[in-house]
Every structure is written in C-alpha cells, then in structure tokens.
Symmetry: C2
Subunit: 329 residues, 2 copies
Amino acid sequence: MNMTVTIKDVAKKAGVSAATVSRVLNNSGYVYEDTRKAVMEAINHLQYKPNEVARSLYKRTSKLIGLVLPDITNPFFPALARGVEDNLQQQGYRVIFGNTDGDTTKEMEYIDTFLQHNVVGLIASVDHLHHEVLTNLRVPVVTVDRITEELPAVYADHKSGGRLAAEKLISSGCEKIVVLRGPQDAKPLYDRFQSAMQYLSEKNVSVNFIDCQLSFEDGRKKAKELFNQFPDTEGIIACNDLVAAAMLHEAVTRGINVPTDLQVIGYDNITISEIVHPSLTTIHQPTYDMGVKAADMLIKLINKEKLGMIHEQLPVYLKERNSTLNGGI
Amino acid sequence: MNMTVTIKDVAKKAGVSAATVSRVLNNSGYVYEDTRKAVMEAINHLQYKPNEVARSLYKRTSKLIGLVLPDITNPFFPALARGVEDNLQQQGYRVIFGNTDGDTTKEMEYIDTFLQHNVVGLIASVDHLHHEVLTNLRVPVVTVDRITEELPAVYADHKSGGRLAAEKLISSGCEKIVVLRGPQDAKPLYDRFQSAMQYLSEKNVSVNFIDCQLSFEDGRKKAKELFNQFPDTEGIIACNDLVAAAMLHEAVTRGINVPTDLQVIGYDNITISEIVHPSLTTIHQPTYDMGVKAADMLIKLINKEKLGMIHEQLPVYLKERNSTLNGGI
DNA sequence: GTGAAAGCGCTAACAG
DNA sequence: CTGTTAGCGCTTTCAC
C-alpha cells in the first residue's frame, strides 16, 4: 500500500544524503546541477511529497492560517471566507477554520488549537468585547468586519452606511421610520445603527427601533412585532439583508405594498437581496474584497513588512433596487 | 513575550521527567496521584498547551480533517459544512478546508497538502469523474452529495427527488414542462434529472430541457432563453433553488403569474426558497444532517469500526409552498 | 558542493 | 511508578 515515502528514500534513490535533498527542495545552499537533477528525478519517481508536519515542527511555523468566523451559514461570511481563501491558497497557505456562533468559549477553543497547530496567523471576526483573546498572541492577527483600536482590521465604512440608508429613506419621503438594531457588541452593527439614528434625529421624523438578531428567523419574529407595534411605519432600515428580507416577506403577507406604502433598506448586498421580490435596496459591502484585503494584510504581517495603516476601511455604497421609491418622491 | 512553553519546562517545574508529564497528559501508564497533581499544577501555572505538531509527527496522525467542497458561496454547502464541523469539533477534531470550484487541479492540490499535514480523514464533494484522486489515499474518505461505487458516501435520494418534482407538476396540471439540467458529471444532478425525465416521458406531456449551471447568474441567463424559446411553458423543474429563484425572478419581470400561469419547483430547500416571492415549492434535502452523518461515518472509519453500509442515502421530500398549485388543480 | 549530526516537541518502549 | 533513550521527518550548522 501507500507506505509513506520520506526524504531518506529519496536520498537513497538519488545516491545522496537527506541534507542534499532538503537543499534542492528548499533552493537553499549550493547544489550541483547534476545532483539536483538526480534528486528531482528521484522525487518525481517516488512521488515524494515533503511532510509538512515535520517541517513545521522544526521551523516552528507552517503554512496554516486560522480563520475564525461567527457563522458561515450567514451568507455574508462565505463571501468573506472565499476572499480570504482564494488569496491565501494562491500564496501556498491553507486555512483551518471554525464557526463560533459568537460564543467566547468556542472562540478560545479554536484559537488555542489553531495555535497548537502552529498556524502562522489568524483572521478573525470576533465581537470586540472578546478581543483580549486576540491580543498578545504569538502570531499576527487581522480582524475582519470587526474593529478594535489595537488590532489590524479590515471593515467597511459603516458610519457612511448607516447614514446612507437614513438619507435615502428621508429623501424618498418617509416620515415614520423604524430601525432594526443588530447586536451592539459588534462594532459595525453599532456604527451603522448609531449613525442612522443620528442622522434621523436631526430630521423632523418619527423614529423607533427594535432589537434584532442577524437571522431571517429572528427577522421574521421582529417583523410581526414591528407591524403590530408600529402599523403605520413608512420606512424600515434593517440591520442586514436577511432581516430586510424577512420584513419584506411579512409586509407582502400583510398586503402592504412595497415600496408604495412601505420602503425597506437592507445591508450587505448579499445575493439574496437581488432575488427577493421586490428586489432589495441595500447598502453594498465589498465583502469578498474585505476577505482578500485581510489576507493581504496578514501576509504582510507574517513577512514582517510594515503596514501602511492598521485599519483598512473600505467604502460602501447605496444600491438602489425596488424596495424603495427611487428618483425622488 | 509569549515564549512557547514546552513539555520540558513543565517537567522541570514539576520536578519530574518529560515522560511523566506526557503520561499525565495522555492518561497513559501509571502515575502517583501526588506527582500527577504536581504536574497538573505546573501545567496550569505555565499555561502549557501541548504542541500538536510534534505530537502529530510522532504519531503520524492528527486531529485534523480535510474538507473539500466545490464552492462555499453556494448556500447549499455552508449548511453541509456546519454539519460536518459541528460534529467534528465536538469530538476534538479540527477541519481544514478548500473550495475547488469543481477544478481538478485545485482538488488535487488541496488533497495533497491536506495529506502533507497528516489529516486523519477527508470529507469531499468532488465530481465522480475525478474520484480516482480519492481512492487509495492513506486515510479514509467519505464523499458527500456525490456518489461512487467504491467510496463511502452520504447523499440524498435524488431519484425520488426528481420523480417527486415531476409528479407534482403533473398532478397540478402542467402539460408543457421544461426541465433545467444541471452539470451531469455530478451524480446527484444526473439522477434527479434522469428520474424526472423518465417519469415525465411516461406521461402525455411536452417536455424539453435546457442545460444550466447551479448559480443564480446562469439561471438568469437560461431563464431568458427559456421564456424566449418556450414561451408557453407551464411548469419548470429547476436543478436547484438558486436557479429556480432566477426563473421566478424572470417570470415576475415578464408579468407571468406564478403559480397560475407557470409553476416552478426548486431543489435543496435552502433558506432562500422561503424568502423569495412567491415562496418556492422545492425538494427538501437534509443538508445539515448529511454533513453530520458524513462526519459520523468518517470517525467510524478512522476508529477502524465497521460501517453498516458504505452508502448512506437520506430521504428527501416535497416541500410545498406557493410557486405551485397546491391541493390539486 | 555535500554529508554527518543535532534537534524541533513529543511519545513509547525499556529498564529500573 | 518514573526516568532514560530513541525516533517521528525534516532542516541546518559545521566540517570536509
């Protein structure tokens, strides 16, 4: 069967020492072109693949990067994850990952075992309350879609995002607005909520808010609550697209016409927002790019390069579709 | 700073040898309760965490499992992935993963490097044409949502799935039916298409098919094609929910009333199918459970336990929503 | 240029 | 019950 072939086997076959094989493998030191060829031949012949674990043990480093996300089932994160993975994979890194469901215990568990596997870096999306876990690790960390002072971070401009949404509803004539407030321990959610509220408070409109998780399920529950509690709502700013979709859904069910009687704005611009009916006006986040960017930063950090800036803020924009009144009121 | 603390440090601190520390770590061999306590204390005091890489090198095994999926951006896979991960994580395994986009090169690349990292097993969703790659690996492999003779597999009953969809359209009165045919090198797609066609061919109805990728984007393109080519279509069987959503979308755009003038059936029952309007009648696959089951099988294989059966087929069912005429015609 | 030897951190005989 | 020793597969001085 597939008995593992080691560097020694290659050495023997090529009639050289393991050290020499190692040298050609790593392009380190000098090797005669002839012996180099002999070694390569042996390698190909034996289908030799170096054992990364042994390598990792000696070098106390690896090609593994840990990715810690809340929940890959939320469509926002797969896009992010692919951005990270595509970039990393291309540079020879592999990613080992875990979903935490925002649970600190799981976060720590994953981070610990990732480190035990000699990961060279971590990309994490973890509530800022738990960020201590990420500080003073022995490997660089980049946070995505989350923000703390100290840690390098990639995130979108949620202050603009929140304001953009609010502006839009105001400019399309809403006077009774409900804002769904996502979990406030995640800074992006906090920012977009605050900045929307801030803008709205300066206008002469009625505004209320309801707390809501980021899932379709919870959106659904809160939608019922919303329409019961504030039946004459004219505009809704949702904390993400999933929740916005739930609002749309409940509105349709109740025979409320969107966007004529009610306008809804989502957040993220995940695929779903295009698919729902009416299609969803939303704040676009460059999700995939955030992943790519985070991987870029991490690799720089791993290579001890200086970062231009610790915090990389990416722009968002309003994507108008059919859940709002467009072209003015 | 965080200089790594090794087993030797613990040994020194506890006044014993490394071997003894190892013993208490692994609960192997006998250790005096007192020395055990001393060791534990040293461990806690030093915050010692064993180096999994060293462990892995010696034991030629690890707690790592490789997960190979086509594209986590397709909402079907995150659910599957979480099923896998939740199960594995609980048993102390960690997952290292890669998206292949159905590209054999990437598949092989990932599998190779996973093996180089001493993974103890692989869970893969890979087109059956490429299954040779997976055979004769030195670790057990379980395929998910894919089928080959030789390899253990977890998948849903797509023959029933295809027939269920076809039956439904017939029983709700469709006489002009178009079936979207997904990529046929994936057995599940093949099965569901064939069995739908088979059933339809026995009925006295007009049936056509169009090839289609599994994405919303391609669905969109093919939707236009479909309505141009077969404008009087009464029923559509889509290859998955994403594509079905695209059909719905195009139908609405063209002012075709669903389900009155046109009925649509999806496949998978991902969250989206509930969110679209009208909500989508679809074939439900137990996606998360498939992941859990696959992890179960793999762990058994890793532990050298015998499997009851190599192929685990999970049931599907028709989930009726509002894109079909329900309660008979 | 190349080989011998030591060692990364851990575990598994083998003595004692 | 516990320490000593050897070795997992690889890389890296250090001689030659």
